[in-house]
Symmetry: C2
Subunit: 345 residues, 2 copies
């Protein structure tokens, strides 16, 4: 019997690195390959940006509480978010599905209603896809294609010592939304008569079920301010994990200030209800689809008055590592946790 | 309870049509959307062609007889074939996987070896993808991107009355390869001691496990002869089904000559062994990844001496329908059968 290494030994990112090692790009049009939120292709005047994501039932969503329409919407959002995080504009999308006959035409219609609503909102064209059968469950694969300018694209590897770390929006909400939905699911499963108590958590639950990508930043705020981030990534796996990606790609360290990480009061309150530290939800929760980016210190004035942007740290020398400066004044090494566990069949 | 229409009532193609109705393209760069083997995008001097396909364990492949390396190779081939069928050249590919921890790192390495071998052979760059967990089974989603020239792209909708129907290669082999593999699997399952009897069927089994796309036609034969097909499609679902696609998109009818459909003697022999009509295997079998195309009658001399191209019929008025002219001299309506059945969970 030959050697068998469990995929969980490498972890998701280690596995990607392992599987894609030694890949060389041969075409001039392959401007940038694996290693960012999207690949960059050079097919003419503008650069094209391509990103692809899979969403799997039972792993990324639970149809017990995810309405199919929201799921269709979210499938588009997570992909356009990857295009925005390159400082590019999404233009086209393909949506592929594999599903069993547990899904009726009406159910698929609902899913596509969400896809079409997101395409309309984000101004992207649905140009293709594949539809096929699965033995069990729903699999969604989306590829988004966008357009960017060579001098404006933002990669993971552009952060420099002294750059300022910024984040948009607020963090931790999507993760807490998931906790609330899971709690109500468990209550429902043991007492099917009980109505779910979603309380006044519309915002938090909405962050999980129907997130939005930061189109406003890329299409309005950055161009209006003539701001080009030195590096950027979208927050799909949690702030800590994304910061690690930027630091690794840019070969730098970072100090993250807890006080600068935006967390809404209602998110804080819910975190405490679940006996969770709010900052942990922001650092490791994921699925907020906000943007983490770095700017040159010369651009500090540009972001200071921009809406919904928070200065949350600084890029430092690699030797200093990646650290969290807590509200209490302590500094300790940051841990990245966000990654998929490959489960048992 | 709201209405529940089983997906099988619409069929795969009916379902796609249903789900994608009313989709409008808003961007100038969205040159051609849903309805061909690939979408066409206009991002500069050349047109870009984008195609995406999902392969699902238990539906499209069986790991009991598909070596993972071959599966990786085939995943690339089925997608570059869609780009070639637009008369375009594939340049980049993204490969996404969802899998459980039943798959070891070594197993995934084998899969990627096949992917990389195909990328090398077809001269495409692997530029991205996504890797995630599934609850059960392996799901593969590939997106291929290629480059084409506006005047040379071949769509499904360009066939005209009087055009000549051509097909490359030989048909039916992939389907019979699957029959042989399935037979040996059943024998093995009831008698695990028995070695599989694959006989002298290397060619036929190879057509199923490691098909090739017709790069030679698109990159050499067509350009050398200055031939641009009036319409084209790759044969993934069976000749009959592909001919229906061309006729529907082009609003024409067709007469297919049985005598012109290329079937190898060993494929014929195996068909008879399985008590199947060889022409039925070619018409409904699928997965041959050959090209079906139409040419203007003015171009007849160009294809007459081209290797591995067979003249197999004629495009006629829509009123005449789509008919098969048998070797015995009979003419009867052709039926298209190739489509996925959405199975029970």
């Amino acid at each position: 019997m030959s050697k068998r290494t469990d995929v969980n030994e490498l972890g998701e990112f280690g596995l990607i690195e392992h599987l894609t090692q030694g890949i060389e790009l041969k075409h001039n049009s392959s401007y940038k390959g694996i290693g960012d939120d999207a690949a960059v292709l050079d097919y003419g005047d503008k650069l094209m940006v391509v990103s692809t994501d899979i969403l799997v039932e039972g792993i990324h969503f639970d149809l017990m509480y995810s309405p199919l329409k929201h799921l269709g919407y979210k499938s588009v959002v997570v992909n356009v978010s990857d295009i925005y995080s390159m400082n590019a504009i999404p233009k086209q999308i393909t949506v592929s599905l594999a599903f069993s006959n547990r899904f009726s035409v009406e159910a698929l219609d609902e899913f596509y209603e969400g896809v079409k609503a997101a395409c309309k909102f984000y101004n992207v064209d649905l140009v293709g896809g594949d539809t096929t059968s699965s033995r069990k469950g729903l699999f969604i694969s989306v590829t988004a294609i966008g357009e960017g300018e060579k001098e404006k694209l933002a990669y993971r590897n552009g952060a420099k010592e002294g750059d300022i770390l910024c984040v948009t929006g607020d963090l931790g909400g999507a993760y807490l939304g998931l906790q609330i939905l899971e709690r109500e699911k468990q209550i429902y499963l043991s007492n099917p008569g009980v109505q779910p108590d979603l309380g006044k958590n519309d915002y938090i639950i909405g962050r999980q079920l129907k997130p939005e990508a930061r189109r406003d930043m890329i299409e309005e705020f950055f161009p209006d301010a003539k701001l080009v981030p030195t590096s950027m990534i979208d927050i799909s796996d949690g702030l800590a994990s994304e910061l690690f990606h930027i630091c690794k790609a840019s070969d730098v360290g970072a100090i993250l200030n807890e006080g600068g990480v935006p967390i809404r009061p209602d998110v804080e309150e819910q975190a405490i209800n679940f006996k969770l530290d709010p900052i942990t939800c922001a650092l490791s929760g994921g699925e907020d689809y906000e943007l983490l980016f770095t700017i040159s210190p010369d651009d500090l004035e540009k972001v200071r008055y921009m809406p919904d942007i928070y200065i949350c740290g600084e890029i430092v020398n690699k030797k200093e590592g990646i650290k969290l400066h807590t509200k209490g004044g302590n500094i300790h090494p940051l841990k990245a946790q966000g990654w998929v566990h490959f489960g048992n069949e």
